[in-house]
């Protein structure tokens, strides 16, 4: 196996985790969170700070817990926000965290970039495989349980859900934080792959929008949608990157526009339309 393969697959796995965990909360509830990079970055920084002091498995656990806590806090702060305001708040949150970390690193820690303890790529691959499995499993469990129905009801008609006795506050905060937990877990592992992080890399705004695009591309009403979307798009972008290194971002942007314009329900939606089976409405419809 050429050494590039585990690296490429790990990349795909990362996007799958981010997309599935984004869709875990934002799919059924139809809140568009644009803060994926924030929680991913938090996991990365936890890994950078703790990587030398604690064994790797513990670092990953800590990364996920820190992300979870910040997710709880964010979810709590955002309770009053819906739709557009929620989206731009999360968008701005990423910038806030990025600039705050930058300032802190420059002024207090005096080290704007951080190096990480190197871990060999096969280990990273296995960790990511485990994280993906865990994330998909949890997403599946949620969707099949009453919590999945609760989240859908929040998405369909939040006031009505509250009126029939669902504690919307509690579930909103918890499941938002849960999705952040997996993002942080992935971040803690991926940091060691990238080996060097700074605020611009860790809280990269592209990583906010990409999982959203991948989830929409794949189709959000279904457990396979985000996985498919993430897999196909990451593969496509790896191909683009290797064939057109200079035009890669340009083509990526164009791809974005094309997908949004012509595939509103995603790939899964294509088959659904064909099968005429629309029991559960998609996010954003």
């Amino acid at each position: 196996m050429p050494p590039y393969t585990p690296l490429a697959v790990t990349s795909i796995l990362m996007y799958v985790v981010l997309t599935v965990s984004w869709a875990m909360f934002c799919g059924p509830t139809r809140y568009m969170s644009l803060a994926t990079a924030t929680f991913f970055g938090v996991g990365m920084y936890t890994s950078a700070v703790l990587g030398e002091r604690l064994p790797f498995p513990l670092v990953v656990v800590c990364g996920s817990l820190v992300s979870f806590s910040i997710g709880l806090l964010t979810g709590f702060i955002c309770l009053r926000l819906r739709g557009f305001y929620f989206a731009i708040f999360t968008f701005g949150l990423n910038e806030l965290v990025r600039n705050s970390v930058l300032w802190w690193e420059a002024r207090v820690a005096h080290t704007v970039g951080r190096w990480l303890v190197l871990i060999d790529s096969m280990t990273i691959y296995y960790y990511m495989l485990a994280i993906v499995s865990l994330t998909v499993f949890v997403a599946f469990l949620i969707r099949r349980s009453r919590y999945g129905l609760i989240l859908y009801s929040i998405g369909e008609a939040e006031e009505a859900a509250a009126h029939i006795g669902i504690n919307v506050t509690r579930y909103r905060i918890f499941f938002f934080a849960l999705s952040c937990l997996f993002m942080g877990m992935a971040g803690a592992v991926m940091a060691t792959k990238w080996a060097y992080i700074d605020p611009r890399i860790a809280f990269n705004p592209v990583l906010n929008f990409t999982p959203v695009l991948m989830a929409l591309f794949g189709g959000v009403g279904n457990i396979f949608g985000p996985i498919l979307g993430a897999g196909v798009l990451t593969l496509a972008s790896e191909v683009l990157l290797s064939r057109f290194p200079y035009y890669y971002m340009l083509l990526y942007g164009m791809l974005f526009i094309v997908i949004i314009s012509f595939l509103p329900d995603g790939l899964v939606g294509l088959t659904r339309r064909w099968r005429k089976d629309r029991l559960i409405p998609q996010a954003g419809s």
Binding site: F84, I88, G92, L216, M254
Partner: protein, 290 residues
Amino acid sequence: MSIKLVFDVAITGLIMGGIYALIAMGLNLQYGVARVLNVSHGEFVMVGAFITYFAHQIFGINPLLSLIICGPILFIIGLFTYRTLFQYLRRSSESLDVFEGRSMLASFGLLYVIQNIALLWWGPNVKAYAYLSYPIRFLGLTFEANRLVALLFTLVMILVFYLFVVYSKVGKAIRAAAQNEKSAQLLGINVPAVLGFCFGLGTLLAGVAGSIVSMMQEITPLMGFPYLIIAMIVLVLGGAGNILGSLFGGLILGGVTTVVMYVEPGLSLVVSYVIFALILLFRPEGVLGR
């Protein structure tokens, strides 16, 4: 705390405030009226800056004169973008919420397209030109001429735009469409045309702001994003749909960030975000919201 420092902060604050106001009013026209959260708005600022730069370097055109060239070019680009992309999205979306989400994501793709075309065509290097960078003595203090001229032109543009929005027929049509599209249509206003016009006007304002920025700062294809963030903060501060709110919001934010910049430079953006978060949480319709 010398007098010179106070004047410096005041003038810089006014200039930055004016530029933020122009960019934010542009974004407000695009979101508040046409309902497109144009994440690529900052890139149009960058395009305006580059057009002015090249006009100056290649044709020797006075940057202030190139405001007249820049504006219409960007208006046409904006109108074209709206007609081809966003109008299609609007017609093919089931509801306004869906349209808002899709158009925001599409504009994110547009951001990457514009930014990378600029990077490929003009190169990633920082460029700058010197224009009126000689000092002027005023009230016994020295200032750079280009900053004073930039201040003057920013205020003139804002005044012109304010008069346009408040007193002209088109301006009233825009405000009517912003408040209630259906009623505006009932009054005989051609709403689809107004939406396209507003989008174009938004990019025009961005381009003009970029033009003015290029007189005072270095430019690079990556300069747009921070302006977008500030514009979004001002949008929320002034209230989406309230054009005049963005005007005053921009001036206020410009003043606040300039003051913070003199005290602790790294924190100016952080302070902006904190203001942003507080407004979103406690008064999302904006301080001057409708």
